[in-house]
Amino acid sequence: MGTFRYTVRDTCRLFFRHWGLSLLTLFTAASVFFLVGGCSHLALYARKISQNVHGSLIVQAYSPTENGAGNVRDALANNAEIEEIRLVSPQEAQEVLRAKLGAQAQSMLPPGEIPLPWTIEIKLRHSDSANAIVKRLSGMTDIEDIMYAGALADRLTRLSSLITRVALTILVIALLVSGLVFYNMIRISIYSRRQEISVMLLVGSTRSYVASPFVLHGMILGLLGAVMAVMLLHYGESYFVETIDEVLPFLNVHLQWREVLALNEVLLCAGLLMGWLYSFLAVRRYIRAAAKPL
């Protein structure tokens, strides 16, 4: 109980005595965790967009005759990779096209013979199987053309993994830089109290007893920095999502609340852990040296 009281009291003292340094460390930690959280969010959004594109990936194959289209459908009917196959007649396709063209449809699509082929729309369970399906369709004599957005999806996947790697690199660098700031802040706090520490060690305080306020100070700063970053990220993200929804509504970049919550939890734990680790390292090194006899 005595240790707890001393730890809390001296931690408060450290905040007041080194308020400038504490604020500096707090803002550094908040900036670092904002950067880390922002990068993580960016990686999540990139993955989400890539998944959306992959999820809505449809392979379209064209056949000149209804029989040909039927044959293709029958040939692919039992394929486990395919979620759904739909045949679109030239008439249906023409209606869709008319609707899209609007007023220009009259001049571009003259009445009479419909120039459009039968369309076979194939929805896949996994985008990974697109190339195999396309290869199989290419070998069928009833197919005259194939269209799908696989190349775009692949590019998005590559972009997503690149963003994840960049985010991880920034994360590591940011944590190291922030760690150094923490380490130095605690060292300065310790240095300013070196006389007290030497007295405490001389009157029989254990090293862990002396270290505890410094470590708690670091942990609280780390946690507060992470809390500030989470709040900033929350407002920043709302603005980002609103803007994307206005400009590119089809991207549908809304993250699930569970993903956001998990990320926030990770940031808060990282703040606490980082504060503990670096202050512990700084204080342990100093106190070991101070306790060592000449």
Partner: protein
């Protein structure tokens, strides 16, 4: 606490001898003045006894324990049996006199109610009850000295070390401090006082150990400050 120094030698780097081949036995409950000129090694010897300084050669045995073999983890528990009054007092400036004393018990994990009780007794014993809430910078030199003594005795140490406890004090206050030290000694504590104060040594006659250039040059029962009685 019983103290045995067997050939204690301390040489600070690069090659500065501070203590040379000191052989000394102090029995439990003894009162010893450690005298000598500035730089004679008194403070180094005190620091060896608290294990702030390790001997280069020789042995320091306190209560049968060789200090060289004492681990860092058991050092705090060893120091809780020693009360030290430093030459510059080393009081914590932001704590009141009462808190400076209580802090030692707190650091040793003594329960709060017992800390309060013991601190009150000791503060009263050194005559600072009315000044207990003042910070060190609001106290006179003599009062600061008494706070330092209170801090050193509050944990009921078995060995009491005081480095120049009456330096910079007037004769009247020095007498008061000395009587305090004698009362500590009367309770069975081994007391070692490093001093330059001839009046003190000659008035309150006890065992005198004199150091010169790091060497033990005199060890006298009920000795005086100087052999001839002059300065």
């Amino acid at each position: 606490m019983e103290i045995r120094l067997n050939g204690l030698t301390k040489i600070f780097p690069p090659n500065i001898p501070a203590l040379s081949d000191i052989r000394l036995h102090i029995a439990e409950g003894e009162f010893v003045y450690l005298i000598g000129t500035t730089g004679s090694g008194k403070t180094t010897l005190m620091r060896v006894l608290t294990r702030e300084v390790l001997p280069t050669r020789g042995q320091v045995i306190i209560d049968g324990k060789d200090l060289k073999r004492l681990s860092l983890s058991s050092l705090p528990y060893f120091r809780r049996d020693i009360g030290v009054v430093f030459q510059d007092y080393k009081l914590l400036p932001y704590l009141s006199a009462w808190e400076n004393v209580a802090f030692v018990l707190e650091a040793c994990g003594v329960p709060r109610s017992e800390t309060r009780e013991r601190t009150d007794i000791v503060i009263d014993k050194v005559g600072l009850w009315n000044r207990r809430n003042l910070r060190p910078d609001q106290l006179s030199g003599g009062e600061q000295q008494r706070v330092a003594i209170a801090r050193a005795i509050v944990n009921a140490p078995r060995l009491f070390l005081a480095d120049e406890p009456t330096g910079n004090l007037d004769v009247h206050t020095a007498d008061y401090v000395m009587k305090l030290l004698l009362s500590i000694h009367a309770a069975g504590t081994t007391v070692i006082v490093a001093t330059h104060d001839q009046h003190l040594v000659d008035t309150y006659r006890q065992r005198v150990v004199e150091l010169h250039m790091g060497r033990l040059v005199r060890d006298e029962r009920e000795g005086r400050y100087s052999i001839s009685g002059d300065v």
